[in-house]
């Protein structure tokens, strides 16, 4: 099962995705509950953010697996519920640090492969498409790549939810287990 959770900055998407992962872990009687962390711990802001997320998910029972790039090569744990946070970091790492020309395709394939081989994957992604500002060609390429990933993920997803002010709004829901 693949669920895509999207939202803007500070929208409450992470907390929503965490709680959903915990509930799916129990519902699906999964063996492992795994948080796949894509943000690199470089710089004080990133470290603060990582620390805030750690505190937020503390006590919820997640194992943390770091994956900053090449998601396609990640060994998939058996019967796990996996929360990938977040697709936008993964895309930036691939595109800017790894200079990957096939960022969108590789990440989409990586996530779909993960979902096919586990109990459930929740992919957290960002809505960054609505500020209207012209931000230069490099950033434009990045926005385009993330949009392609989000759109492709939506096709494969059983559910796509946008979180607004902490409130989940389903854009698509064909889940058979009533979530």
């Amino acid at each position: 099962m693949l669920i895509t959770v999207m939202g803007g900055s500070g929208s409450g998407k992470s907390q929503y995705a965490e709680d959903l992962a915990v509930s799916l872990f129990h519902r699906l009687s999964a063996d492992r509950l795994i948080y796949i962390a894509a943000m690199k711990p470089y710089g004080s802001e990133a470290c603060l953010r990582i620390e805030r997320h750690r505190r937020q998910r503390a006590g919820k029972g997640f194992e943390t697996l770091e994956c900053f790039c090449r998601l396609k090569e990640l060994a998939v744990p058996q019967n796990g519920v996996m929360l990938l946070e977040c697709v936008s970091n993964l895309a930036a790492n691939e595109m800017f640090d790894e200079k990957n020309k096939n960022t969108a395709e590789d990440i989409t394939e990586g996530i779909v492969r993960l979902a096919e081989n586990s109990a459930a994957v929740i992919a957290v992604t960002n809505s960054i498409f609505s500020d209207g500002a012209d931000c230069g060609s490099t950033t434009r390429e990045y926005i385009k790549a993330l949009a392609r990933i989000n759109n492709e993920l939506a096709v494969f997803s059983d559910r796509v939810t946008e979180v607004v002010c902490g409130i989940p709004l389903d854009i698509k829901n064909v889940c058979k287990i009533g979530i």
């Binding site: 500070g10 902490g166 409130i167």
Partner: protein
């Protein structure tokens, strides 16, 4: 209390007026007041509490978190703090309305 959110110029204030709220019952431009609070060195959590307990019937805010990450650190902090303040406000409100193209959709309540 109700919360009305949406992008700039989407018809949020008009919706509040249509619902019968008077200007003095509305806290408008919540996102700008959060910005002022940060600039003044205040706590956005405390400011949010003061709004929630301020006797308003409606809070209106722009949604500002759906663009590319701002280059400016202050802008990044403002954006995120506004998002978190809105999550808290939405949780405390009886109704939340999202306005797009002048059309309000009730997303809570």
């Amino acid at each position: 209390m109700i919360l009305i959110i949406g992008g700039a110029w989407q018809g949020k204030t008009e919706l509040a007026h249509k619902m019968g709220f008077k200007d003095d019952e509305i806290l408008n431009c919540f996102h700008l007041k959060i910005k002022k609070c940060i600039e003044d060195g205040g706590s956005t959590a405390e400011f949010t509490d003061s709004v929630l307990n301020g006797g308003y019937r409606a809070v209106i805010s722009d949604e500002i978190g759906c663009g590319i990450i701002p280059l400016d650190k202050e802008e990044r902090i403002w954006r995120e703090e506004t998002g978190r303040a809105l999550c808290k406000t939405a949780a405390a409100c009886d109704e939340v309305w999202l306005v797009r193209c002048g059309i309000g959709t009730k997303i809570k309540g």
